[in-house]
Symmetry: C2
Subunit: 470 residues, 2 copies
């Protein structure tokens, strides 16, 4: 189905139906994305003030057959928010719908509009001594709608799950302007098909999320963090298993990092304190949040000692206070920025079954290790089997020299992950970057069913044209 | 779309394509359901030996336009497995597909075929020192496929979630016989729409689940149980909040029960030991599974003392050993059987937002309390806001005397729940029992979308005709 370009008449008619300031100029910030890979374009930007206005926009767009690109915080890494070609679409920004509509501390529920910024949600939860556990590096600009549309992950998935797992309900405007009021505060509701999870992760192609009912959790009584040097990824996995035997779900984060990552930080962030005197090949950050009656530092010391005894850990530091915890987390949180400053040739977001993580690293290192003219920084959410296996230019060379090899590199990483039953998009989504990967690696029956579902929920195909299904 | 009746030719042709013993007589056990409300009927029973055979059955049925009723353990409480009228359909039993295909202890993953019985899954998990946390009273006969098709709940939802939350992937045969191989062991995979959750909870109307990849969890280092007497449902909620402040997610179950329930047990199960000398009006069972270094009994005693001090608990017993834990759990687990022996007029499975549970009980008691000729046993998963608010005949009267009032009673319970933003089916599903409730209380846009989805995934409408959408 071909879409029409925006016309002045269409925009004038839309403007007449919306409150003041809904239609706005196409600012350049709407057309950029964090990795600078695409330049977007848009015929107009509309920022509705309410769910009813979102419904007006979508009904009008469906009627006129014009494309709509839902726009949230603009922090996505796979181009889901950027439409580089086609008839200049209507960019639908949720930035004016930022209300925290309600907080129910005794229910551990918070209802936020789609435009609310993640950090604001964190603050609203903290104000009632609760935690909204989803957190990612771009928390200062990422918005609730986009986080859900992309089923965002982050560092606490191990304990609390991804965006999907900590969402109870949605308010959604469908492609024809119909509003689904699914803002449930219920913990259990088995009344019909699961539209909520169908919308979560659909990257703006099936409907526009306008508000969400989010799960909060109690803040753990005591929190602690350690950096532990491991001889190998296998040892890291065995350490994770030991940690969970000791502390169960209380293990909140288990992040693998490499010596190369520390070298990148030393090179690009000389002021950042290096955690170890001798740079290890591999180390993990482990974060725990424990029940009353347990001292987190002591529990981590006990784990450290037992793991050391078992040969799973050769060195380490347990944070003795919050300042030190913060410092350890800085090492992890500055990793994407250090990577950005080095400038990656190709970044990846793969996952494999947990037990096959060491095998993935072995195969990928064997494949790329012989090249010589590249550097590899492999890090990520080991507890979720999710690695960012990123390839960088050799020291002193620039990523521009590698442009022609990018596709081959990416293909190799994804092939290895696929061979091991893995995914080429663990937490970033498909967007426009990985449409071809979905076709190459995806189950054909699943893709066929996705197309059918898209066809009935968005028959004209106005929603985020080109994303996910191409 | 009208469906055709099964013909001898169809069955002969099907038989020729399947291995021996796939087609079998329509045994009466396939036509009964636990509450004895419906008598089923079926033209034939087919029990395929493999996923490929399920695909053959569905492709043939779609071609011939004959209805198929997927049949799992037969333990569902809403008639989803029973087709009382229409052209005698093909009953598709998964009873021969019972393999535990693989267990990955280090990944906390187990892959089971749809016909595996829940208790077998529990045993397979225990054999590697893990737990599959879903557990319900019918665990000795309920099968994996049905548990997922109905998104089963049970007593551990508070900590581990329902069937949906502890499933990583599915293998599904769609209505036209196509097989989706989605048996992922991945913890994170953001590659396209969430078919898994669409199938889970669709009650056999969108596809037939043939196998599932299930999440296991480590067994907590120490487990404990207490029965605590609370002055009111409000106090029970405050106690839950206090318990989670102390122990976080380590609170595995938090079940509310009433003195009426204990009277029912005294009446129908005189050998079952009553937990309290003086029968309380309300009490809770709290179960915890703690990390190493904590004594569960001691942690529960601490909670008990603090809650007593705060006026939230007036009496209680903390289990001192496993035998006592088992005895406390017996009180909870025998509640459905005691109810069955009394014989309910109308049973319900409602949920409301957690904070509104006391208000629900107040309103419902006010409505039914004046009747005089009924008894109420309200119990359930308070931690999930899920109550079984069940109505029984007055002592000495039989449920048959109340048949004409059943619809009015059910309507009143569901109206009160709906007014509070609640659900008329928290964990049992829609089946055939609650089709009208879904229409009465459901969001019309959601129902319209459900119909659209059903139409594309099962265009001929062969799958579980009459269930969920009527």
């Amino acid at each position: 189905m071909t879409l029409n370009a925006l016309t002045p008449d269409f925009l004038a008619a839309l403007d007449a139906q919306l409150g003041p300031k809904a239609l706005r100029p196409v600012d350049v910030r709407y057309l950029e994305e964090p990795r600078g890979r695409w330049a977007g374009q848009a015929g107009a930007v509309v920022a509705p003030a309410s769910t009813a206005e979102v419904a007006i926009v979508l009904a009008a767009a469906a009627q006129a057959r014009v494309g709509v690109v839902p726009y949230s915080g603009g922090t996505g890494l796979v181009g889901g928010q950027i439409m580089p070609d086609g008839a200049g679409a209507l960019l639908l920004s949720l930035e004016r719908m930022t209300a925290i509509r309600a907080v129910y501390p005794e229910e551990n529920v918070l209802i936020a509009e789609a435009g609310a910024i993640l950090e604001e949600v964190h603050r609203a939860a903290e104000a009632v001594e609760r935690v909204y556990p989803l957190t990612i590096a771009s928390k200062g600009s990422a918005r609730v709608g986009g986080l859900l549309a992309c089923n965002a992950g982050g560092v606490n998935v191990l304990r609390y799950g991804n965006a999907r797992d900590i969402c109870l309900g949605l308010e959604v405007v469908f492609a024809d302007g119909r509003i689904w009021n699914g803002l449930s505060r219920l913990r259990k509701d088995n009344t019909g098909y699961d539209l909520r999870n169908l919308l979560i992760g659909s990257e703006g192609t099936l409907g526009v999320i306008t508000a969400a009912s989010l799960k909060l959790v109690p803040r753990p009584a005591g929190e602690g963090t350690a950096l532990l040097v491991v001889p190998s990824p296998e040892a890291a996995l065995a350490l994770l298993s030991m940690a969970r035997d000791h502390m169960g779900e209380a293990v909140s984060a288990f992040e693998l990092m490499s010596g190369e990552g520390l070298r990148f930080q030393a090179e690009t962030m000389p002021d950042l304190r290096q955690p170890f005197e001798a740079r290890p090949e591999w180390f993990v950050l482990i974060d725990v949040g424990l029940a009353r009656g347990l001292d987190p530092a002591q529990a981590l010391e006990t784990l450290f000692a037992e793991a050391f005894e078992a040969g799973l850990v050769s060195d380490g530091i347990v944070a003795q206070n919050d300042a030190q915890r913060h410092q350890f987390w800085e090492v992890r949180e500055q990793m994407p920025e250090a990577n950005r400053r080095i400038g990656s040739v190709s970044s990846h977001d793969i996952s494999v079954p947990l037990g096959l993580v060491p095998e993935f690293i072995r195969r990928a290192d064997a494949h790329f290790g012989t090249m010589g003219d590249i550097r590899i920084n492999c890090f990520g959410h080991l507890g979720d089997g999710n690695l960012h296996y990123n390839i960088f230019p050799a020291q002193g060379r620039s990523k521009a020299e590698y442009v022609t090899r990018r596709d081959e590199i990416k293909r190799a990483v994804h092939d290895i992950s696929h061979d091991l039953g893995g995914s080429h998009s663990a937490e970033h989504g498909i967007g426009r970057l990985k449409v071809q990967d979905l076709i190459t690696y995806g189950d054909p029956v699943k893709i066929a069913m996705m197309r059918e579902i898209k066809r009935v929920l968005d028959p004209v195909g106005i929603l985020n044209p080109g994303a996910v299904l191409g």
